[in-house]
């Protein structure tokens, strides 16, 4: 049996998708990316082996994501932009624009004829990324899931700063002023949505929008983003695996 495996080593989580010759997903899992991508990639190899899919000639691996170079058993590395583009296209089944809110960066990718044709990434700053949400959730003393839960019943307070460090101090002063945590949470989500929407409009995005990445199952985020963009934002339960799926599809090749 031949296997085609895509490994997406992100800054917080590492995603793995295994396809068979028919491009059917036969295995997928996610592991936290520890402090060492090398260690994580070894862990993935052990896990694959335990699942009866050892790294050998029968298996072709393509690695993507921040830690892609750490996967020393990969045949090739491909950037997360191309992988998310291909994976997102496979999930939605048509040309679209893909918004990926990742741990370290956020990107918008336009897919034309099944191929990523252009993309835009946010700049050096972490505002508008998963990291930003994580830091703010921490400040509010809740987990990421609870942050969205709280936000959905809140009325967004203004968090105007574009910079994570300053935004954090805005959040602290909101807390100090005794504002409701729900309202602060809503403000946090709102600021991320604004930042992401800004990126989308700078990219002059076209077609349907698909949200991929770790936040793709947050209903509340999706509805805020849909409202802001003025168009329906699609998602998929496999959305967080889009990059790994794209990598696996590239490993599988045309044929």
């Amino acid at each position: 049996m031949k296997y085609y495996t895509g490994i997406d080593i992100g800054s917080t989580a590492s995603k793995v998708v295994v396809l068979d010759d028919e491009k059917k997903i036969v295995n997928h899992f996610v592991l936290p990316t520890g402090w060492s991508s090398k260690e994580t990639s070894a862990e993935i190899a052990r896990r694959l082996e335990a699942d009866g899919m050892p790294i050998n000639e029968e298996m072709k691996v393509i690695a993507t994501g921040y830690g892609r170079v750490a996967v020393d058993y990969a045949a090739k590395t491909v950037t997360e932009i191309t992988c998310h583009g291909k994976g997102g296209y496979a999930l939605l089944g048509r040309d679209c624009s893909i918004v990926d809110i990742g741990g370290q960066d956020t990107k918008v990718i336009t897919v034309e004829n099944g191929m990523p044709s252009s993309f835009l990434m946010n700049d050096k700053c972490s505002a508008g990324t998963g990291k930003f949400l994580e830091i703010m959730a921490n400040r509010l003393g809740v987990g990421l899931g609870d942050l969205f839960e709280m936000a959905s019943s809140g009325k967004a307070l203004a968090i105007s700063s574009m910079c994570t460090v300053f935004a954090e101090s805005e959040v602290i002063s909101h807390i100090g002023n005794g504002e409701h945590r729900e309202d602060i949470a809503a403000g946090v989500v709102d600021s991320v949505v604004n930042k992401v929407a800004g990126l989308c409009s700078r990219h002059s995005m076209k077609g349907d929008v698909l949200l991929t990445g770790g936040l793709c199952e947050c209903e509340y985020l999706i509805s805020c983003l849909s409202r802001k963009l003025g168009t329906k934002v699609y998602s998929d339960p496999m959305g967080r695996f889009a990059g790994a799926l794209g990598a696996a599809l590239i490993a599988r090749g045309k044929k």
Partner: protein, 386 residues
């Protein structure tokens, strides 16, 4: 794909050439020569040559002096301006040290105001560059060129004759032609040499202070590359052919140009002021009015500080055809507003009119974003791959 840069055996990098130039300049100074430091392509360097003075570029391309500069200048200013000022302030650039007079120009706001501060360190004369190309602007700019000539005469106690200017125009035109022919090697397909080498040679050429010698070195290299290409060039390759446009890229050449070439692309064309931008148009040697001839040439430089600046777009479009370009990378130095805003038109023209992929990279002189840049460059090449 071949992923190593192909550089000639005796190739010297920009920093080495810059250092060599120090000694060269010191020797000239010891012989009593005077030096004029400058920052920009708009300064009519012919006048400096005609006066028997040595012109030297002072634009700085490393981030070392930036923290010092930030004591006086805002953080969100273009790194080229901050680094250049930082060198002056900390007196760590020998070329600035050797300059008797500095000449600036009112190109972008940041630079123009920085010159006011620089003037407190060393005499800095500022040419007032108009930002359009109509007849009023031309008349005004011609006046500025004459005033600059008078400034040189007064400051150095010399006379600059029209004959000397004419001679300098001829010599400088020859140099432009030589550099242009070298840069146009990029039209050959497959690319005969790396963009990294082309850019480095053009930049480092300014540290050889004898125009004739500068020309001879580059001319020889052009002939050598051509002969080698004629003899053993293969099929037009699979490596994507890229055009680099935007701000001066010397300070980010390793991070962007070298990086993308090592990933398997060829940078074959430069629409930048350390590329072909200033070399396209020569000074009209037949114009009886030398000042007008200079004014026309310099006002036509396609820099984004001009408004409007349609001629830059036209030229990029032409280059895309002539150099068989597969992708355009625009490099914008952080906080360079004129290029950043104009990038909107460049992107639209490149992607919509020409149907060529476009990547915009905003960066500064630090190394902190090189990981991100690598990912963008790699992804960009993945979108181009046929």
């Amino acid at each position: 794909m071949e992923n190593k840069l192909n550089l000639p055996a005796n190739f010297e990098g920009y920093p080495e050439m810059r250092k060599k130039g120090f000694l060269n300049m010191k020797a000239q100074k010891d012989m009593g020569k005077k030096v004029v430091g400058m920052f920009c392509s708009f300064v009519p360097v012919e006048l400096i040559h005609a006066a028997g003075l040595i012109p030297v570029g002072l634009c700085a391309f490393t981030d070392e002096p930036i923290p010092a500069a930030e004591a006086h200048l805002p953080k969100n200013l273009c790194p080229l301006i901050k680094a250049s000022y930082g060198f002056a302030l900390t007196d760590t650039c020998p070329y600035f040290f050797f300059s008797d007079l500095v000449v600036g120009e009112t190109t972008c706001d940041g630079k123009k105001k920085m010159f006011e501060l620089m003037n407190e360190i060393k005499p800095t004369y500022v040419m007032q560059l108009p930002h359009s190309r109509d007849k009023d602007a031309l008349a005004f700019w011609k006046g500025q060129i004459i005033s600059f000539k008078e400034k040189l005469e007064e400051f150095f106690g010399i006379t600059i004759t029209e004959d000397a200017i004419r001679d300098a125009i001829r010599r400088k035109n020859r140099e432009r032609t030589v550099m242009r022919e070298f840069l146009e090697l990029g039209k050959l397909d497959p690319a005969p040499l790396s963009g990294y080498e082309m850019g480095t040679r053009i930049d480092a050429g300014s540290f050889s202070f004898d125009l004739t010698e500068r020309c001879n070195v580059v001319e020889a290299r052009t002939a050598e590359v051509k002969a080698e290409w004629e003899a053993n060039h293969g099929e037009s390759g699979t490596r994507p052919r890229l055009l680099v446009t935007g701000c001066p890229n010397t300070g980010v050449r390793d991070k962007v140009i070298k990086a993308v070439e090592e990933m398997g692309a060829d940078v074959v064309a430069f629409d930048t002021c350390n590329g072909i931008r200033e070399k396209v148009e020569l000074v009209d040697e037949t114009n009886p009015d030398v000042y007008e001839a200079l004014a026309i040439k310099y006002l036509n430089i396609n820099c984004s500080v001009m408004s409007p600046n349609q001629s830059r777009l036209d030229y990029i479009a032409k280059m895309i055809d002539e150099y068989h370009i597969d992708g355009v990378i625009e490099i914008v130095l952080q906080s360079c507003h004129t290029f950043d805003v104009e990038a909107h038109f460049v992107k639209r023209m490149v992607t919509q009119e020409k149907g060529v992929p476009y990547l915009n990279i905003e960066t500064d002189y630090s190394q902190s974003d090189s990981g991100q840049i690598n990912t963008r460059l790699a992804a960009f090449l993945e979108t181009i791959e046929k």
